[in-house]
Every structure is written in C-alpha cells, then in structure tokens.
Amino acid sequence: MQMPDMLIPQVGVVTEIIKETPDVKTFRVVNIKGNKAFDHMPGQCAMLSIPGVGEAMFSISTSPTNTKYMDFSIKRVGVLTEYMHDKMKEGDHITIRGPYGKPFPVDTELKGKNILFVGGGIALAPLRSVIHYVFDNREDYGYVDILYGARSVADLVYYKEIEKSWTQRRNTNVYLTIDRPDDEWDGNIGFVPDYFKKIGFSTDKVVVLCGPPIMIKFVMAVLLEMGFKKEQVYTTLELRMKCGIGKCGRCNIGDKFVCMDGPVFRTDELDHIPNEF
Amino acid sequence: MLDQEKTFEPLIVAFCCNWCSYAGADLAGTSRLSYPPNVKIIKVPCSCRVDPIFMLRAFGKGADGVIVCGCHPGDCHYSTGNYFTRRRFALLFSLLDFMGIEKERMRLEWVSAAESAKFARVMNEFTEEVTKLGPNRRLMDIRNLPEGYEELGRGPHREVLDAQAPHARNIPSVVKIEEQMKARATKLLADGVVDRVLAWKAGDHETMPEPAFFDHPSQIENMVYNKYCAHNLSKYLMVAPWLGGKLFDGSTLIFLKPCDSYSFNQLIKENLINLEKTHIIGIGCGGTVQVEDLEEVGMWEKCGVCTKIHHPVGDEIIELENNSPRLDKNARFATVEAIEALSADDRFAFWQSQLSKCIRCNACRNTCPVCNCKRCVFSNNKYDMASKVNATEFEEQLFHIVRAFHVAGRCSDCGECSRVCPQDIPLHLLNRKIIKDINEFYGEYQAGQDIAAPEPLTSFDLNNDGQAGKN
C-alpha cells in the first residue's frame, strides 16, 4: 500500500537477524501483516530507520522474485547501524520506505548477455539481488561469472550460500579471493583486481562492479586494459542520502541526483559528472 | 508533568554533588525530614560537573525550577570545584534574568553533608517559591507539552526598545595607512620573510572589499584598506584544515585592526595560532561603516562605542595619527543598562522579539573568533544537542545562551556577531552583559588583553567571589 507521501515510512518487523560476519548482519524485514513491504527491482534501495536513532539508505539484497520478505545486509559503521547491531533483536519493529533509485537494467541492457559480477567486501549485498534475479530467470541470461573478494574468510558475506548454491548453478563460475593468507583457506590469496587479471575474462560480457572506491578504481583500470569498454560496466555510488526522492540536494553530483538517477550508473556516465563521489 | 485542572504541581530538578549535598539529602531522609516530592535529585560527582546545558535542557523539557547544590566553598571534596560553579552560575542567573526569565526559578545552594535540616528547608522554600511563580513558560520547548495541552497563546511580538540608529560620525581617512601596508607587504613578500599576506582585496564595487590572501608581490596592488574593511581577519589563521583548504605551512603576514588584535591575542592564548609562522602588523582604524545595497548606511555599532585604539599584540604598528576613542567609556554598556532597567516582562518581550527573527544561519558562530570548536556541539550528535534549526522558540534561546556562555570570559567584544547577523539581532548585548557582570563581580577583565592573565571562568578569587554567588 503506497503511503500518501514518499517521505512517510511504513512500520516493518525484523523477523530474522543472521550474523554473516563479525561486523555484518542481515536483517530480514516484512511489513506488519507479515508480507513484503513493497515491490522493487534489483539494485534499488530502501530507507530503514529507528525513530530517535536515525535513518539511512541500504541496498535490498534479495531479488524481486522473492515475494516473501526483503533482506538488508548491514555493516556496523554509523550511529544507526551500531544501534541495529547492538540493540535490536528479532521481532523488533523498524520503519521502511522505498524503493528508491534506478535499478540495474536487468530487463534491457543486461538481458541475454553474459554477466560478470565483481564484488568487494559488503558490496556483494546489492549484487546478490541481481544474482538471485538472474538465477531465477536463468534462461534470459548467458554465462555468469562471479568474482568476489574480502579481507578475510570471516569477512566473506553469504559464504555458506555461495558455497552451497551459487557454485552449483548451471553455467556459473564463482571465483573467491581473500586479501591475506588464512590457514583454513585453500582458495586464491590476493586483491580482487590482481585476481581478475590472473583469471583474464573475455570481453563479451556485461560487468556489474560494486565495492569500495579504491577497488573500483583498480578494477576499472584492469577492465580497460583488457579491452572492456566503459559502456559495458555498471557500478553503484555510495553517497549520503536523506530524502531518497531527489529533493533534499544531499546526493547531488553534477546535474544528477544519485538517489534518483543512480545509485546504479554506467561507468561512461560517470565521466560526465564532476569527480566528487 | 504539569496538569491544568489540579493545583499547579511544579517539577523541580535538583543537581546534588555526591560528597556533600547528596549526603545531606540522604541525612534528611534518615532523619525523616519531609520536603515536597516534586523535587527530583540527580547525583553528580561535584557541583562543578553541572553544565549550564543540563539546566537549560531541564527547563526545556518542562522543569519549572532547577536547583544546583554543592559543598560549602572551601569544603569541596575536589578542593576547588565549587569555586567555578559559584562564578559560572552567578553569571548564568544574571544572563537569564537579563533575558527576562524569572531568576527565582533557579538557585545555587551550599549544603554540607551534615546540614539535613537546611536541605529540607531549602527544598520546601524553593518548591513554594516556584509554585507561586506558576508553570515555566518562558524557557520551555512547547514540543514537550503533553498531548492535548493547550499551547500558550504566543501573541504578536511587542516592540520594546527602538532599534539603535547607527552612530553618525565622520570617519578619518586611512589612505596613508593603506599605502604603508602595501609597501610593507610587498617588501616582506619580496624578501621572503613571509610566504603570504592576509589583508583585504578590492571587490567588484568600492564598498565590497573582501578578506584575501596575497601570495605574490604582484598581487599586492589590488590590496585595499578603507572604512569598509570591517571584517575581523583573526580566525583565518586558526589552524583548521577544514576551513582553509589544503594545509598551509608557510609564514603569513596579517594586518589587524585594534579590535581584531584582541581577538587574535585570545586565539594565540588558546594555542590556535602558530606564532613563529605569523608576522603581525597592527594598523590604526578610524571606524568602519555598514553597507546596505552597496550604499553606506552609517558606522557599525561596534565602532560607535569602540574604546580600543591600542594593539595588545603586534610586531609592528602603523598608527592612525590623532586617533581618539569615539565615545566615552560607558557608552559601551549604555544599551545593556537600558535593557536592565526594563521590567522582566519587557526584557523577555524584547529578547523574544529579537531572537524570533533568528534563522540559525550560524554566521555569528562561524565568524566569532572564540567560537572556534572543530566540531560545534550544535552540529555533532555525539553531544545529543545537535540541532540545525530553531524549530521552537526555546531552541532560539538555547542556541544563543549556550553560545554566549561558551565564549564567556573569552569574548573580546569585537562586535562581529552583530555585524554579520542577517537579521540584525543585537547579539553583542548578550556578550556585553556577561562582560559587564564579570567586570562588576570579579574585577575589570578584557579578553585578549594579556596572554598570561587567568580567565574569569577558569579561575577564582577567594575573597571577592562571595558576593556574586549569594543570590
């Protein structure tokens, strides 16, 4: 049910809190009646808030095909996230409003293409939404490669899910790497950009790239070096957002509003806006 | 909370120091002395731990009376804590009274651990007094009124004091000083004594010079100094990366008018200026003028009452010949005395009318040399006070009272806060009232005059602190 104004949230319930890594938890949110708060497309975000503590934008990490609930994987960084990690328990209420932002073009540019997902750290959350969407409409898409890296084994988000389900999927390769050596880890050791160069992907793919700014910078360099064109690469910008409806001016970069014209951008579009992100 | 139908039951918050007054309250309990349940006690380690913000927060949230209790001066468990409390709250009560808020709503009492009788007596007396006064309406955030409680009719604002007409006065030309400034600046830059010069440069209109840095002798020719250069330059040299773009580690020549040099000296005292890297030239000043729509309107208020013609700091001085202070010494506090003479209702109406114009643009805060916190309590939510805007009248009062208090004893009365206020609120009156009180209670003190002098609010004087604290 759409609220009269996009700024007014509806009350949601956190049905489950799953501890992914020491500083990342996944919060499963439904509305009061127990079903999905609203429909959304992969890559879109929602504003979660605890009255009196704060409100912040988080990417929805479940796919639109999942009609029962929405997941938010949240890292413990700021005032609100600290409260959510330390003080919230299952069954607590939370307010939710959205969806906000332009989604990944899954039904347009990405349709029918081979997709290469490159993720770093917590940034796998927005990607997971697209990955699940692709898995649920598998035949609409070509080969899927997932390259995901994190600081350590403990920091690999959705590690169990990746191991059990993603690696078993048809025409799907999963490459995992961690920054520093770890005794119970037999996989690749090294940063995502270096591992990317080691594997060497063919350029007949659309790239969906999310991660901390330094990782994006280095991966872009490797992509261009390997012949990828900027039009093939999509990424998300992580900026402070308050209203989520392009009015409050906070996420204004150049003539674009990240909360309306993004957060998903094609990397060539990023060259047409001032380098302030 | 308060309820209209039943007789008025005041809410009293008492801050009691752990070692004396809290123990006194305990003893009052053990000896079964009774005092009204309206009094609610918050334990603090020492009376010096009570921040004026706590008292204002209590009033804001609906308290009708706030009382701070501590050990008798000399008995403080931390030996000097209550001396600071005594000075701080004497000034706070006087300032709030100046703003028309009934001073019977607030009290400072010394109660030792053995004086249970006095504790009970004081609490009974205070509750009675506040009950007579009625609910706190002048220093309260109406958003805290319980649902369905009719909001006090905020009638249209009353004009109490007519706005001060700017002092009309002829202003001596300072063109000779400008020439000497340019000469010195060019020389010092050329010789490499300094790497940049901070002064004023011509704007695109004669009345609009702007503070500017000159990095090369060739730029000096559009340096300017005239009666429109009212800006106080001291804060630009404050070591604040977030203010000055990339960190500058060269040396700077700064030109300071007499009033600015007091502010600069205060910043030096607060270790915010890198003295080795600063070359100071004090320049004479004949007074600066207010400009509205690029036309002169009249001398700035701060220049009208200016008595500062000397520079307390400066490597060189470029004097203005035959410069005499504009008015006699007590013109400075004339308006303050005029307001003090008003009735409490009129004083409240005056400040209610003035502060209601405030749009919280922070010009007064960002231009004030001693309002130099890296992250102000009003803009970081670590302190739970963060508020960007005056949603209610209480927040207007809160912002200006807390600001006046944070600069108390450090404000050199440079008048910048009133000059920059877009709504022309006479903010300097709050600071000048505190300065007047400090001079009266604790002896003449001019901030920025002498680096070594102890500041009024971080020092005490055993023999003459008494009479102020006995309200």
């Binding site: 104004d5 996009m6 700024l7 009350v11 009255p51 009196g52 503590v53 409100e55 960084v77 005032v79 996230t81 209420h93 939370i94 307010t95 900026l239 402070r240 009015k247 409050c248 001016g249 204004n252 150049g254 003539d255 047409h272 001032p274 992100f277 | 958003r143 805290n144 319980p146 649902e147 249209p156 004009e159 706005a163 695109d204 609009m208 702007e210 500017a212 630009y236 977030w242 000055g244 773009g245 400009v291 729509d293 690029l294 036309e295 009318s353 749009i359 919280r360 643009c361 922070n362 960002n366 803009s379 970081n380 805007v389 949603a391 910048e416 920059v420 877009p422 709504q423 022309d424 609120i425």
Partner: protein
C-alpha cells in the same frame, strides 16, 4: 488582459482587515529594525516601500522546520502517526518580481518531477501570491541579468504603487477569484496609467551595476571545464562556511531530516540545511566534500549549472541581491559569474 483596479494607500489596512477575516496575510513587516514577511495583525508596522525583506517567501512554502510524522514508541513497537497536510488558505502580499521567480524555481524542484512533494504542494495550493513591482531597485539587485521584468511581476495578482494608489491586476484565474472576492474596496482604473511607472522601473533596473552579467558560458558543455577551473582556488578563500547565503537565498531549498524525541514519542521533521556546512555530506566512513572549496563550488555550480541543466535553462538564481548584502565576508554569486563567465567565454573562442 485582466481589468485593472486601484485602492488608496490610506485604506490598505482596511483591505488587510477584510482579507484577514477569511485567510491569513503575510506581508513585509518592519520589526526590531528588520523587514521580514510576517503574519499581519492590527499593530503590525507594514512597510511596502522597503526594497526587500531579509527572509523570503521560501519561509512560507518550505518552512524552516516542518513535522513529517510522529512515531509512537511502545517498547520496541512503533506506530506511525501522520498528520494531515497544511490546508488553511493564506495570502502573501508585496512579493517582488525576483521572489516570485524564486517560487517558480522552487516549484520546479518540488513539483515538476515525480514524486511530487506533498507538503510543499499543500502549501502552494493554499497560497495566493500578490506581487508588487519594485519602484526603487537598488545597486545590489541584478534581476535584470536573469531577464526578470521588475516592472511586470508575475504571481496570481500583480500590484504597483503609483502616487497615492495601489494598482492591482489579476494575472490568472486564482488571482481573479481573489480580487473579485474583495471587489468592494477597489475602484476601477486605467492600465495605461502604469505605463510611465513601468518604463521608469525597467530603465532603472537596466542601469544597475550588476544588471548585465556574462551568463552565456554557463551551459551544459562547459560543466566540467568550469568545475575544474582554477579560479575556484582563490574565489572560495574568504568563505567561512556559515550558511547565511543559503538560508537567506530564496531559491536554496536543500533540507535535512532529523528526529526530536518528546516524552510521547519521536517526531521526525525536516529542516533547512546548507551545502556550506561540513556535515552536509558527512558519512560514517568519509566526506566527499572535505574542504570548504568543494562545498563553496557546489553551491554556485548547482545554481548556475546543474539546476539549469535539469530545468531547461532556468537559473537557480533570481538576482535578488540578498547574498550580496548578507555575506559576512562580502562574497557573492556576482563575483563568481564575473570571474568564471568572462574567462570561460574568452578561452572558449580563443
């Protein structure tokens, strides 16, 4: 052409009284030494001759703080209580041409693109804008630079002060209904009487020092060139990041959303914010505009470049001159336009 009426300046207070019976009136009131738009009451000192108010009509459409909703907290359970939107009619009187244009700029931001801002829309629907021509524009005014005609202000009803009379002309249906409603106090008048006054105003507006500014080079293609221009280095140096320019500017409309916890629950309200404050884009892990230069540049780029790119050429500035008068360190948008506009134009064709 709608009919022209006039009313003697003498019985304007009767007019206000009459209007006040049905709706509130906001008009320039001189109080405590400042001219501000304030609610009318009998003892208010109305001053239609003052050039411009310190506050702007923005106060009435995007109030400095406005409650969005209240969340009642019972333990960890939340209940959202919304309040119905603003719906008491009001008239805003004596709005100059630049401020009327500013309202048009704000309308673009809040109403032209989905989703429409309901709070703003409710207030705009309830307002009747009565504009007033500027008899005496002063040096700091540069509405002419944005070809805003000070002599023929838009709005629902336009008014002019000529001699001892206030001439009114409804501009649209809403204005017509408003004027008919208070017809009794007016007497018919000739539109041509105003021609002389209009010409005089237009001539005065054109002759002001800042009435012609090099705005041509502020177009979409030059965005990156102007953004990376090295003049920003010295243009921003004097700025102390106080936010006066944004709070007194009629077109600055950025806001923040904050909470206030009362005993009965938490009220979430939106309030003005300024891109000049360091906390504007402060995030837990960093701040994409770390120093004052970036913040200073963002403000003027948004007004001169980004807003026009999004709303087909409409500049985010209306030349009201408030930032010229109110900046504590004498910085303003004219200096930016002059410094960047000229240089970009020169090396554009060099």
């Amino acid at each position: 052409m709608n009919k022209t009426y006039k009313i003697a300046l003498g019985n304007l207070s009767k007019l206000y009284g009459r209007i006040n019976e049905t709706q509130q009136i906001y008009l320039p009131v001189r109080r405590g030494g400042t001219l501000n738009f304030e609610k009318w009451h009998e003892s208010a000192v109305v001053d239609l001759h003052g050039l411009k108010t310190t506050n702007t009509p923005k106060d009435l459409f995007l109030p400095q703080s406005e409650d969005l909703y209240t969340a009642k907290m019972d333990g960890t359970n939340i209940e959202i209580i919304t309040k119905d939107f603003f719906d008491n009619a009001f008239v805003i009187f004596g709005v100059k041409a630049c401020d009327i244009e500013a309202i048009a700029v704000m309308d673009n931001i809040y109403l032209s693109k989905h989703p429409v801002d309901m709070y703003y829309e409710a207030r705009r629907k309830n307002a009747v804008l009565v504009s007033l021509a500027c008899n005496a524009p002063k040096n700091a005014c540069f509405c002419a630079a944005f070809n805003i005609d000070a002599a023929n202000p838009k709005g629902d009803v336009a008014t002019w002060i000529l001699g001892e009379y206030l001439y009114t002309q409804a501009q649209n249906g809403k204005g017509k209904a408003f004027v008919e409603d208070i017809m009794g106090l007016f007497e018919p008048a000739e539109a041509d009487d105003l021609l002389g006054l209009k010409a005089e105003i237009a001539e005065k507006a054109q002759s002001l020092p800042y009435s012609k500014l090099p705005l041509e080079s502020f177009t979409g293609e030059n965005m990156m060139k102007i953004f990376d221009h090295e003049n920003w280095d010295f243009l921003h140096r004097a700025c102390i990041g106080c936010g006066t320019c944004t709070y007194t500017c009629p077109t600055c409309s950025c806001y923040d959303i904050k909470d206030f916890d009362k005993c009965s629950g938490t009220t979430r309200f939106r309030c003005w914010d300024s891109c000049m404050y360091p906390e504007f884009t402060l995030m837990a892990h960093g701040n994409n505009r770390l120093t004052q230069k970036e913040r200073f540049r963002q403000r003027f780029m948004h007004k001169l470049m980004y807003h026009p790119m999004n709303y087909d050429g409409q500049f985010g500035c209306v030349g009201c001159g408030r930032c010229i008068n109110k900046c504590p360190v004498s910085l303003n948008i004219v200096k930016i336009i002059k410094s960047l506009g000229v240089e970009v134009a020169e090396n554009a064709n060099a």
